[in-house]
Subunit: 227 residues, 2 copies
DNA sequence: TCAAAAGTGTTCTGGATACACCCATGT
DNA sequence: ACATGGGTGTATCCAGAACACTTTTGA
């Protein structure tokens, strides 16, 4: 069929998770304009004619919230005819994971406010964003079970317990410490350092850092890691 | 950001697999118009303003090839700026599985020819369709390992060996007959009939049919079935 | 009687899970 | 001394993988 007058707008939306101090957060913006003015929504916006989809999400995210992120993975494309009151809008959603403390979030352009919401305190959101968020959570949780993502979320040197907390927070359930250490150690992506870290009472923790080479190699090979 | 003049076209593409007599095929059309005139490509086309994405794929597929299908699952959205010589075109791809013998395929609209290609004899294809096809194959194979799809592809009554052949064809590798029967039987989705089927020499095969209720219930629960 | 396809159980192994006590430090 | 968090090993269980012979028919 030849080109018809197509009047469909294309947007991207970002489900950005943040991890800090054992808690997982979701980034939302408060909309400055109609529709859904003054309501919370995912950061996102129109794709420009000359930018790739990934560039579009990264740009919108940066513009609206100040968050810069390189790991963004495509989630799903939502395109129901009535999902946006402005007309036909198809949205390609992405998700990613960052450290909130690395960014000074600040609302701009379409957003009049930005905020990190703890995963269990997510407010009502606009459009069909609730569904998008839900698929983001499901995907994130299933992903970390077989791919060691999320290592970027820790300090350069970190105690093992930080990694454990990260995983249990992302999964939303406790992990067995001994089994977890066993599995991670088998991956051989951690270098044990001589440093230790002491925070208050308790035995000081051995510090580790990532062996990035091995880590990225594993990622390429598509590790099967089954938490 | 308010609505800018966005000039992006939206298309859908279908990666349709066919299964017949122990072989897996892929449906391609031969393009009637530029670009890539006279070359093979995935069936697909522009989304209309007032139809959902799934409707659009189903419609295009029907129009161009004559194939009707209800199970189509979203695969991925391809949107690189230079993927289509006509300009910016973002394509949402879907994949599905049908029985070729159920359809009289016939080219129309954009297609001047349609054909089922055996999976190992896929010709060069237009655009970035090779990548799309590849993701379709990967997805199909990983999917049937944990979800009992593909049952629609057999006759109402069928010998167990048909199911086995189907799976080994889809996976592209042989499956162990005893282990396979064991696992499928545990799912409890097959009703054993009194009929048998005899085709040439060899012991006649017991016929089975699906217990659809149980089958759809399992599907809902998200069976973990691990072939 | 032979060729062809259907049917059927057991063993082995490896990974996942469950589980509890000692160690080093700060107060 | 005690409270706090760090660190470690073993036993069990289950699911997946491997594997070969008997049965029933057509020719």
């Amino acid at each position: 069929m030849h080109v018809l007058k197509q009047n469909i707008k294309l947007t991207v939306d970002a489900v950005v998770f943040g991890y800090e101090n054992g808690k997982v957060y979701l980034l939302l913006i408060n909309r400055k304009y109609e529709p859904f003015k003054n309501q919370w929504a995912l950061p996102g916006g129109y794709v420009k004619d000359d930018e790739n989809l990934e560039e579009a999400v990264a740009r919108e995210l940066k513009e609206e919230s100040g968050v810069e992120i390189n790991f963004l993975e495509q989630l799903y494309t939502f395109g129901a005819v009535d999902r946006d009151p402005r007309g036909r809008v198809v949205s390609i959603s992405y998700y990613g994971l960052v450290r909130p403390d690395k960014f000074q979030i600040s609302a701009a352009t379409d957003a009049k406010d930005v905020k990190w919401f703890p995963l269990n305190e997510i407010p009502q959101v606009s459009f069909d964003h609730e569904r998008i968020i839900e698929s983001g959570i499901i995907r994130l949780r299933s992903k970390i079970k077989y791919e060691p993502i999320g290592f970027e979320l820790l300090d350069a040197k970190f105690p093992f317990s930080d990694l454990e907390k990260l995983y249990s927070a992302l999964l939303g359930e406790p992990v067995d410490r001994r089994n977890f250490r066993k599995k991670i150690k088998e991956l051989n992506v951690l270098d044990e350092l001589d440093d230790t870290l002491s925070t208050g009472p308790g035995r000081p923790a051995r510090l580790f850092k990532f062996n990035k080479k091995r880590f990225f190699q594993l990622k390429k090979e598509g590790v099967h890691f089954e938490l």
